[in-house]
Symmetry: C3
Subunit: 298 residues, 3 copies
């Protein structure tokens, strides 16, 4: 079985970064409609609270009731930091179902992550954050490591490491990121991984601008978006769901194709154009996703 298809049966449009040690933000979590929560030991947790945060996250992995049945993933610190190994061991012992690993630079590093997880009998899905120039350049090798099921494009750290400006105007990523984002998307598609982009706009209050940025992410092929701020979450869910038009078109295509096949037609057409097997597969996938989403919100 190809491990990297794990998670394909889940609705994963919106990812939300939870600053677990900030009480007033943590209190809002049950009211946030994200598909996946990121329990963070890394950048949103200050050094003096790392140990306490790790403890709280281990408790949550064991008893995730507070998250209302939504999926969650655990972000340890990178193995080069003083906290990384203990973070990962704690997640492994508690059997975190999903680990998101930051600042990866090499294949060896992923092998070490896997070794630590294996040593504790843990085999979570691994999502990698693409946020170093080394990761972008070697992304094929890094992303094809066993266990990896998704890539999150991380422009914040990548900007600091490379000097590429984050923004070009209020709602657009700087064009300097286009190569790295495009390669992230293509590598995901080549290896069957989920491509996740980050919601990043200069003005966090400009929801129209954010929607345009999200539509841009979707147009680039991404199917999930990470936010560290609650207001965009419902927008993400909307933008990353198949639209009513897409669902209707997919239904017509699937029905036409099946009817033709049942009638023994070898060639099937819709609105005057041949329908290919690939289009049929794509339409089925759209309907599968729409059903998963309907099931989740019902």
């Amino acid at each position: 079985m190809n491990q990297n298809t794990r998670g394909h049966d889940k609705v994963r449009r919106s990812y939300f970064e939870v600053p677990i040690m900030v009480e007033n933000k943590w209190a809002k979590v049950p009211s946030i409609d994200a598909d996946v929560f990121m329990l963070d030991m890394e950048d949103s947790t200050p050094p003096n609270l790392k140990t306490e945060a790790r403890g709280r996250i281990v408790e949550l992995i064991r008893d995730p009731g507070y998250l209302g049945g939504r999926e969650f993933m655990v972000r340890p610190n990178n193995l080069d930091t003083e906290w990384g190994r203990a973070d990962l061991e704690a997640a492994a012992k508690a059997k975190a179902p999903l680990v998101i690993y930051p600042k990866v630079r090499s294949v060896d590093e992923i092998r070490e992550v896997r070794r630590i997880l294996d040593d504790h009998g843990s085999a979570p899905e691994i999502i990698l954050i693409v946020e170093t120039p080394q990761a972008v350049l070697q992304l094929e090798a890094i992303a094809s490591c066993p266990g990896v099921t998704g890539l999150l494009f991380g422009p914040g750290d990548l900007s600091m490491e490379t000097g590429i400006s984050l923004f070009n105007g209020p709602t657009e990523f700087s064009e300097g990121f286009l190569y790295a984002r495009s390669k992230t998307l293509l590598v995901c598609r080549a290896y069957g991984l989920q491509p996740i982009d980050a919601v990043f706009t200069a003005d966090l209050k400009d929801l129209d601008g954010m929607r345009r940025a999200m539509e841009g992410s979707r147009r680039m092929g991404f199917t999930g978006l990470m936010s560290f701020y609650p207001p965009p979450v419902p927008l993400i869910n909307e933008v990353m769901s198949p639209s009513a038009d897409e669902i209707q078109w997919s239904q017509r295509l699937v029905e036409t194709y099946r009817k033709g096949r049942d009638q023994g037609l070898a060639a099937i057409s819709l609105d005057g154009k041949w329908v290919t097997v690939h289009q049929y597969a794509t339409a089925q996938e759209t309907l599968r996703r729409a059903e998963l989403i309907a099931g989740r919100t019902a």
Copy 2:
């Protein structure tokens, strides 16, 4: 001899996809002024007509008079389909001069294509369609296989396989394709292959928009364009030919350079700037292409 320079002595600006089993479209072929016709066994031929199409294409390879002396290439189905091997064997036996192979994903696949061709004593030029994420990522290795003489960028299937939207407004490719298109162009230039783009605009009736899209392809370095619709063909021929200004400038440069060289000048200048050997070579290439085109239309 480097095989990949085969075809450099041909005028190959416009490529036209012929739906060989659609009689009213096929009837128009003699009136379409394309440089190269693509006889298609793949996406424009429905499954129930694959065998019949293959037979008609084999006849055409043997007696291509209907195409009025224009070049043609044969597109088999991919080897992973039930038709691919028989398509390729038929093209090989009939000694198709040019094969365009779709949906390639690996070097091994190209080796298998070559083996099948070799087994029938056939050594056609091979043009590959870049339309899978795997092909984009491994393009250097795939494109440098012996026999390959061109790459066609294929946004239609690449869009379906990756989720990248085809369009960003009415006449522009989505920026999500820029990396894949740029890499296709650079790989062609590194290995001496012909770079071919596809005419793709949202509105097939908007010839002004199409012209802008074609000029964009040329500005990106492509020298040929594929169309599956007849009206753009004369536009392609115009946009992909050297302009009168380019020809005039190239003539002046070549004359100046040769005169200087004959006079024993080691340094030659034109309009106050040194002329480099590279500029001389580029100007010669422009004139060579202009002469080929003049010869073709005479």
Copy 3:
């Protein structure tokens, strides 16, 4: 010691290409405020003057007083030309501190460059010009050769070699270069090399347009710019220096971080946000550069 950090203690914003055999241009050199002068044996020197230019450059390496203490680098011709080997040997013998090597296509070529330098006991910094499609495709391997400390993106020759148009409107590079430029930047950042872009605009008199182009280079992450025309040089120095705002922000961040650390705080915040070690490092780097620049202009 990692050789590729050599040069990090130097102010290298503006690079100026000197046409050493054009007397009226050479006379202006002392009045041009470039950080680094490129003494050119290659494209700006016509074939009949190659030997004389080489001799003058060797003299300058030995007695660079005319350059007023500014850094300089020597550009030999490529090893494939009739002059390349003699150029490089002359630079090696004279112990040129910095060599900029043009039109590289392979790792083997860089090894040969190093062999020639080694044979004369010379170990200069090597900056490579990225101006062939082969170099772009194999840039990781080429750029990680020992001795390489910087990459200059060279759109002029890359345009001639690939057919990518230089411009898209008056001040913007054609989008066809974005992949090659982005990869150049990321490879520099992955290996610790200096990323240098070229000032290229259609209208050399349009300083506003040039400033926008330079700001675009900086936004893409480049820290140096090459010009072959004197007027842009002061603009380059301005655009590639940290701004007053950046310096002030970096000072506040560094002070806050150090104060917190001295007080034994494990978590340090500024304007309500946690300060990361990475941000501290970036701010220190900004201040280090600002001090170097202040020292140079004092």
